[in-house]
Structures are given as C-alpha cells and as structure tokens.
Symmetry: D2
Subunit: 223 residues, 4 copies
C-alpha cells in the first residue's frame, strides 16, 4: 500500500508527451532510485504503456477514469487501467471536474479493481465530502494557485492543516498547486501532508532534471 | 490517404480490453492481410500503443480526442495521438457528443497534425453541418440503431443515400449502427458508402474470428 | 423554517406548463388549505412568477439553480430566485446531475440568500457526502424508480431508514421516486421521512385533483 | 417576422435582475417607442413574465432553451417559452455552448413553435455550419472580445463581412461582443449586419438610460 506520494502530473503539456514523456520519466526513475523513494507520474493515456515498460520503479497513474464499461465510446475504462498495469487514477482534478455520482462510482470501481484512488478537492469542505467515500488519497488543490508558482503550502498552510483531521479516517492527504521548489515540498511535508502533486514547475522547467532532483531530495527527507 | 474504411470500434467492452484487445486485433490483422484490405480499429486509449507495436497492418484510431494542450488534466491530447503513431480519431460519437466548437477545433487540429478525422453524425442534417469542416470522413450513425443488430443499411437506406451528395465536397461517407452481417456490409457498400463502423456484433460475438471473416470478406469485394 | 414538505415537481411535462401549471397549482393551493398543510411546487422557471402571484399558500421552488452571477448567459441566477419570491431550489436532481463543486456552491449561495436548499441524492453514500454541506433537505431518490410507479418507500425502505441518521445533523430527509398513492406517502412518513417528492403520478394523472387529494390527505396525517 | 434586431442581453448581472430588470426594461421600452424601433431583451428566466406584462413594445427572448419535454427536471422547456409569450431564444451563446445535436434540436423545436431562433457562432466557420439549420438569426460573437469594450465591428470587420454571404440563405446576421457606443452600432450596421447584441456596456453603465439612448439612436438610423 502506498503511504506517501510525490506525483508528477504531465497534464497535456507538449514537453511531456511522447518522447518527451519518456525522457522526463527516465529522469524521475533514476532520481527516485538514487534517493530510494517511489516516484509517481500521471502521463497522457497513450504514453502510459511505454512508460510502464521502459522504466523500473515508477508508479504510473491515470489522469482520469470513467467508471463505465460497454458501449461508451471515448471513455477511459477502469479495466483498461488495470490491464495496463497502472497503479491507480486521479479523479475530479479541477481541470476535469466530475459530477458527484461519477466521483462515487469512480472511487468504488478503483477499489474493486485494487487500484489506488486520488480524489482532488478544491477546499476542505469538498475534501470532507469526499472523505465519506474513503478514497486512498485526497489531494487538496486550490485551483486559483495552479500554475502560479505560489505554493499552496506557503500561501494556505491553514487550509492544509484543517484537512489533516481527515487522516483519522485513514485517508492520506496530498496537496498541490504552485509547488515549485524544494522548500515548498518541505513545508507541505512539515505541515503533515502525505505528499505533493507537481506539474508545470517540473514539466516546463528549463532544466527538468535539476528541478526533479531538488523536489525529490526535499521529499525524500520525510520518507 | 485512406479512401475506404472498415472500422472496428472496441468502445469500453471488457472483451476488447487489454489481452482481449490484442487477441481481437491479431485476428483482424491476419484476416485483413488474407483479403488484402486495410482494417481499422479504435481500442481503448491505453491499449493503442501495444496494438500498434504488436500488429503489422492495422490502422489504429482513437475513439475521441480533446483539441487542447497545456494544463488540461484528463484530456486526450492530439499530440499524444501523433506521437504514438495513431492514424486519426473519431469525434462526436453519439456516446461522446461534443459541443460544436469542440468538433470544429478537433477537425482542424487533426488536419494540422496530418491525422485522419472521422466525425460522427446522427442524421443527414448534422452531417451537412459537419461537412462545412471538410473532415476526411463523416460517419452516419442513427443512435437508436446502435447495438440493436438492426443495420442502418437495411433500416434506413434512404438516409444513407441522402448523405451521398456530401461526396462532392470530397468527404467520404461511412455508416454504422447495427452492422452485424456480411449482407449488412454489402448493402452499405452498394448504396455507395465508403465503408462501415462495426462494434458489438464483432466484439461480443461468440466467435469473433468468424464474424470478422464474414464482415471483412463482404467489405473486400468493394475495395 | 420549513420542517416538512410535500413537493410536486412539474419537471418539463407539457401538462404542467403555462395554463396547465396554473390549473394544477390552484388545485394544490385549495387542497392544501383544506387540510391545513403547506404544499410546495417546482414548476418551469417561466411559470414561477405567475404561480406565486396567482396562488395564496404555495411554497414555490426552482428545479435548479446555477451559483453564478455576471456574464453567464443562460444560467438560472440565485438572485433572480430571491427577487421573484421563490422559497428555494432543488439541486442535483438525477435528471440534472451536478459537479460536486457546483453542489457546494449552490448550497452555500442559497444559504446566503436565506433560501431553502433541497439536494437530491441517489443513494445513502451520496446523501452522506451531501450532509457535510448542511443543506436544509436531502431528497433520496433512487433514479431507477423514478417514473415507475413503484415507490421508494415500498421498494427500498431500508435505504430510507439508513439515511435517517443524517437527521442528527439537523438535516431533514425527503424521499422520492415512484410515490404514486396515499399509501406510498404514509409508508414514507411512517419510516420517518420529513416529506416526499411527487411528480408524474400527479402531473400525468387522468384526475390530478383527486390524486392530489389522496396524496395530501395521507401527508396531512403526519403534520 | 423580425427583420432586424438590437438585443439587450441581461445575462446574470445583478443590476439586471428583479427590480433592476424591470427598470432597465422600462427605459428600453420608452426609448424604443421614442425612436419607433422594436427593442429586444433577454432577461433571466424568472424575470421574463413580469417584463412581458409590464412593458408594451419589447420583444422578450430567452437566453437559452433545452429542446426537451417530460421528465427533465431543471430544463428550460420550449413550450414554457411559447406559453409565456416569449418571442424566441438565444442558443449556443459562448457562455452556454451546446452540443451540435442540441443546437439542431433547439432550432427545429423553436421553428415548430413559431418562435424566433438566434444561434450564436464564435467565428465564420461555425456560422456556416449553423446556417445549414436555417435559423432566423446567426449572431457572430468572437468570445475573446465579450465584455472588453473593444467592439467586434471595429476590431474584426472582415470577419463580419465574410459572414454576410450567409444572407443568401435568408438568414439574418447579428454581431456582438464589445459593442459599447453608438459608433460601434453604426459600423456594424454599415458593414451590413441586421443588428447587434449588447450586454455589459448597457447593463453595467453608470447611466444605462443615456447609454441605451445612444445605442438605440444609432441603430434607428438604419431601420
């Protein structure tokens, strides 16, 4: 069972698609080994199988899943995640908000398949609603900070602290939005987070390898 | 440039995911070679790379694409299709209906990337709207016949005939919904269709290999 | 503060639009007065002002609200409900499912305006999620029973009983789906519900006045 | 049959809801009479009946309509527009984008009821798609100019000119986005538009009466 997590979300950034996705994933794979920590990534769907095959230690997540099967053209089938060797999936990212019934079905379906669920919440009230589903992780991400470089752990520590009570239900809490330095990671972990989500600060970095090193080194101190 | 097409849409059928997807694709690959025709498939996103790698002659399509790049968690990036070696994508399937602006953006983005667009239309009026975008293919699929086994080529030949005028704009016309026998395929081709979409009659067949043989043999007579 | 409720939801039934809406509302208004109970209705948006003006004792609810203001063409503004004298709104009906963030915003906005919120939930798990928002009412409606004439109070009494624990958070619980007789209403109230939602069994009745009488009489015994 | 149109879209602006909606509508009603031109408005749904009753010469439009009837809680029924005495409806505003099939159904349903359809298009390609439905009006509104005060008639005259060819199909062409002065209106009409859509420049004006006077006076010169 995954207890903590640093998740690199590739979103649909051109730098992190196809060959770029593989190159970035190899950096993360190596650096993770170097520091002895598990690194998680969520690439584009079509890049998932290659990354799984071509890396050794990464946990690969889907960016989204549709809890359906059968005549649903265009959906992301949960079973296809399982068969491909994916570790689990994000759900309800603020860039892919879901109906409440789809979040429920999504978490239950991932559980049934033995996959890890990471449900995003924009604030503590939504986090508390989602906690009723007992997902593996809740990722608190204030949408107004995403992509800003202003980290949630610096700008909204009290929001993060208030979500920590959900740990009593054995849900682990991640945070994301604006995490862009080793210091941001350390603050998040010091507050009590079980890990962080990182995206543009890594993917769009001029030197992603160096940036990954900085973020993972900070993270590794707490694992 | 693809001139005609028989497309096997795997949707989210459990029989056509993971190992099942690979097995079905190998049948199609072999039978296509046998009859000297190109076969197209649209599997789950995560099965696409393996099918491309493990088959020789299939054209692999995406079931959907989101015309976006950047901070769009959960999207299907057009660039990821291109990088994976996909031939193109379905758009606006009746099980994944799109806003008019997304159809426009989708077709234009696929064109820019040199990928083939197949836009679904539930009737001739919507087909005529879509024709203004000059996609490569329009697939006419009356949603009420999908999955019924009652083929559009038998039940609605006049609908298909009326869409043939769109060929003057160099758009090729496919039909789908209920195509379940070689005879259905022949009728469609005789009417003047440039090909057919097939799904449950193949995927959920007790003997998919035999069913593929029947459908592809009928199709091959017109190519 | 409304403590119990029998809500007649007109949906988009032609029988309950325009003059039909007014006629049905007058029946309910009279019968409510006769039995000394408050009756609630949720008509089409455009029928709301006339019903408010032309009836005496009805509580009028919106079928939906969008928690937005400003440049949102096509939305149902919460402020417009308030100004029109509406009592509150349904949210997340299974025929108009909402994203989790819209449910949260919707409940908070209604509270701010002093309007009553009735949030629909298809099962007890979703009801428990919604309870974290402390809406005034949660309406449990298994979608598979809606419009069937098989009442939730007869078919799923244990589902209703399990939601009663939410009352400790001062949330009142309604049920709906298939409520079509006085007996259905009585069962629901006996189980401990704070009221019921009724729709097609009234709106599409050959004799809606008589049907209303039957349902309201049963309800009035518990008020 | 309406041949030209100046439409004041109230959206969900607090200034144009409830009593504000009525006050603004009375200004427009008076100024329209003064200049002898028909003025159109699209208020919040719940304000429509009062505005129709309390003004003399306004054409009142809905901001959106759902082409459905029956069990569709939360929808805006076309029949409810007809019964309320509404003149027609906007469809596919860039703030309420629709699936292509909903646009088709919407236009056809409005036609069936004898109501006027105004379908919004963000560019000429989408306008040409929509023209296949023969709506009464197409309103060209580049979304990037909405609310900016930079008028489409000044910033993109060539876009407007290119849409004029659709007039040969007896569709009348409106434009909107950034129309904020009499001069903007005049330019639009000089290019050949059949009218304009106005919103924030009127609704949020410090002196809406004066602003309406300026815009309507400019418009009236062409009618």
């Amino acid at each position: 069972m995954v207890m903590a997590m640093i998740l690199f979300n590739y979103k649909a950034y051109p730098e992190a698609i196809g060959k770029g996705a593989l190159r970035l994933s190899r950096y993360l794979d190596e650096i993770g080994e170097e520091f002895g920590v598990k690194i998680s990534v969520s690439p584009q769907y079509l890049d998932i199988p290659t990354i799984i095959r071509e890396t050794r230690n990464l946990e690969v997540f889907s960016q989204h899943v549709d809890p359906v099967k059968g005549a649903y053209t265009g959906s992301v089938s949960p079973l296809s995640l399982k068969e491909a060797g994916v570790s689990g999936s994000l759900l309800n990212h603020s860039e892919r908000k879901l109906k409440i019934s789809s979040i429920k079905e999504g978490v239950l379906t991932l559980k049934d398949l033995g996959l890890t669920s990471i449900v995003c919440a924009e604030d503590e009230l939504i986090a508390s609603m989602i906690s009723k589903l007992s997902p593996d992780f809740i990722a608190v991400e204030p949408p107004e900070l995403i992509g800003t470089g202003i980290s949630v752990s610096k700008a909204k520590p009290e929001l993060l602290e208030r979500t920590l009570q959900l740990k009593e239900f054995k849900i682990r809490i991640l945070c994301g939005a604006g995490i862009s330095s080793g210091e941001d990671v350390e603050r998040a972990m010091e507050i009590g987070m079980d890990g962080v989500l990182v995206s543009s600060s890594f993917v769009k970095s001029k030197n992603p390898k160096e940036k990954a090193l900085e973020l993972i080194e900070a993270y590794s101190k707490f694992i």
